[in-house]
Amino acid sequence: MLDLTYDTPKPKVIAGAREDWELVIGMEVHAQVSSNAKLFSAASTKFGAEPNSNVSFVDAAMPGMLPTINEYCVEQAVRTGLGLKADINLSSAFDRKNYFYPDLPQGYQISQLYHPIVGEGEVLVELGDGTARLVRVERIHLEQDAGKSIHDMDPNMSFVDLNRTGVALMEIVSRPDIRGPEEAAAYLGKLRQILRYLGTCNGDMQSGAMRADVNVSICRPGQYEKYQATQDFSHLGTRCEIKNMNSMRFIQAAIEVEARRQIAIVEGGGTVDQETRLYDPDKNETRSMRSKEEAHDYRYFPDPDLLPLQIEQAWVDDIAARLPELPDAKKARFISDFGLSDYDASVLTADLDSAGYFEAVAAGRDGKMAANWVINELFGRLKKDDKGITDSPVSPAQLGGVIDLIASDAISGKIAKELFEIVYTEGGDPAEIVEARGMKQVTDTGAIEAAVDEIIAANPDQVAKARENPKLAGWFVGQVMKATGGKANPKTVNQLVSRKLSE
């Protein structure tokens, strides 16, 4: 495999009123585990069901009910860990995080504070300009999601929907290795891409299947390097946590505005308070949710209803052996096997469907040409219709057919675009369409020669000028193409025109 090498990006620098500041960002990403059943109950996880229809006695915390672990969710967490090149902890344990809220029926969330199932891993985050940030993952733990409180249905009452209660989440905790708003968004995007490749989370941010808490602090240039050398957080500024973000765009905006707020405080002689904040996209500002003093005391302790989770290395190895090709490896392979540019390879490996489509088109054909057609023609056309690759009316076989016709000189590139549009809108086999509609390129030199002769004979003035200035030969080529309805092989036309003009 080709190893991709990147330069380390420069951190984002924000100019304050007095001096320059750098950003330090760490993220806790909550990713809903793709699983039909919940983490500790057999209730369905289907999104969009009638309120309180996917609720078991365990989810509703009825007296005497006990949680039992869903093995598939454990497998998904292990798979995710392996996908992030992380250590898998063969022994992990569940803890209770205690707090009262109506959408938390047990009065505690079952999580993994002390012994998470996945340890240290990493994510390579390409930034599209030849640089990439290696973000370290500190840990991944499994935990239950809470339900949903609904406060706007009645003026006097609140309602609770427990469908989401107990759904499995993976909390993926990064180290503070992210150095700017764009990097944060790119990190989340890369994480989402990997999880979708793995099939462990659908990555749907709108439905809340993926959301992030973002920790932001600021520091003077040079301080971060001291932290890196010592892992001593005192070199960094006090962090604030922006809770529950589920849009890449808002994450970037929130980080920017939060950093500027902190800079203003510090430059004004104040100190940043460690606290939890919420981002308001309407006003583009963060607001305090609760201070450190108001922070909940969650009284974590090991859940006595669940034995420590023991898994075997052989099981982990089996999951590892069945791991799909991941984005970095696929991209490297596309570059080395198909000769693609870094950019094209990135675009084509953005998701599995695109990559699969491309590979089907490229099989046995020129890879660069296939990439060109998939990215420029197909993606462009789909985008115009606001469609995704899975909705494409053109199958890989059809697109491959178009490319084959070009490669065999049966049609010109220009005709190929017309042909593509016909296949896109009307369907059909490209070769048959070309045949039936007479779109085949004219390669018969005699026929083309006749057309060239005719044009030369009809335009003696142009001929004289072109003989003075060979650049004007293009005019004749154009006339010949026009006369042949665009079907003449352009190369042949070029050769004939220049030969005839120089006779």
């Binding site: 007296p63 005497g64 009065g107 974590y300």
Partner: protein
Amino acid sequence: MSKLNELGLAEARDALRAGDTTAKELTEACLIAIEAAGALNAFVHKTPELAMERAAAADARLAQGDAPAMCGLPVGIKDLFCTKGVPSQAGSRILQGFLPEYESTVSQNLADSGAVMLGKLNMDEFAMGSSNETSVYGNAVNPWRRGNDVTPLTPGGSSGGSAAAVAADLCLAATGTDTGGSIRQPAAFTGTVGIKPTYGRCSRWGIVAFASSLDQAGPMTKSVRDAAIMLEAMSGHDPKDSTSADLPVPDFEAALTGDIRGKTIGIPKEYRMDGMPAEIETLWSEGIAMMKDAGAEIVDISLPHTKYALPAYYVIAPAEASSNLARYDGVRYGHRAKLDQGDGITEMYEKTRAEGFGHEVQRRVMIGTYVLSAGFYDAYYNRARKVRTLIKRDFETVFAQGIDAILTPATPSAAFGLGEMTDADPVAMYLNDVFTVTVNLAGLPGVAVPAGLDTKGLPLGLQLIGRPWQEADLLNAAYTLERAAGFVAKPAKWW
């Protein structure tokens, strides 16, 4: 034959199979006895119709000759067990009106074994207490009295209703649960047999949780043989409880040979406590002599961390309880306080829980919350967990040295008067558990066997502690002790 309700499980089973009686007759006899025993306040929900239905079904099975172990035997179920369609309140106001849509695994196992449920039995609220006085239903009363003294006595707790009902022959046997001694102490106070099996032997699914790492269900019966029969019916692996052990359940009754020759019984010196009544000391010595006479080797042993058990228990159990009881918030089921204009969710929680929980439960929830708090966690909860490990190791060490069972007193005193401890320091009440909590902390099986009477005529019990999963051996040792002690006294009927 004595009155049907006075029979034990084994006798009644044999009578049923011999055709000498029917499940209906047995059940009717118990229902009549229950009706006449209102003064004991043992049954808090009676289910006579359901009982007669099940008795009829049992008779049909008996007639067909496919009767399972407990077929047609009427039993009481502690209110801590959720029973489908039958009120299950754990002795608490906060579960007022709660009707489970499900049946606990243990009560289902009993039903599958043909047992006939007579109703639900009184208990300390959420199994927190040693006198049955924290129950929302008021206390159950011990059928035993101090001679002619009419002072009402506690049946013990938390399974006080179960103990009183079995001792007073209101049922043939009953279920109990034991978190720190809640089966063994009431058994000792009422002259009955109670076994807490190894943690994981009985499923906890459907039993209202007090302290999850300590709670175990077990039978309360009139004899060791009955305990063996009923424990076998209650036990078994349950995939719905992660802490339930996937182990085969032996034939416990078949293990009752009465032969303990060659077995080694340990006598722990740390259980000889200052201020222990002389009669308890005497009873213990007698018990040692009985085991020796039966052919066991008696060995003095040391369980050095015993003195830390009670404080560790009263950190761990409340910690788990504070979290287990968080679900009683008035949102989904049970009691919800009436709210005032402008009250929000915080007021709803506060008022509901203040009204719904009694003082002892509130005390333990607060202790538990405190010991788990940031800054106190290591000093209390973590330290208690370490103590727990050391206590477990104490037992492992002596078992590794060849000890088969350990003999101790079951309680530091005989049954005390109801109300006598009301104004005492709560710790004085907690001392009731001093001989029993170690067993829960170590997850071991322990059985209380009636072994004698004190000078006032009240029953006293001895405790045998066994190796993990060796309930069969433990029950055989208890059976030997029971036969040697020859305890046959019954309370004089006054109710």
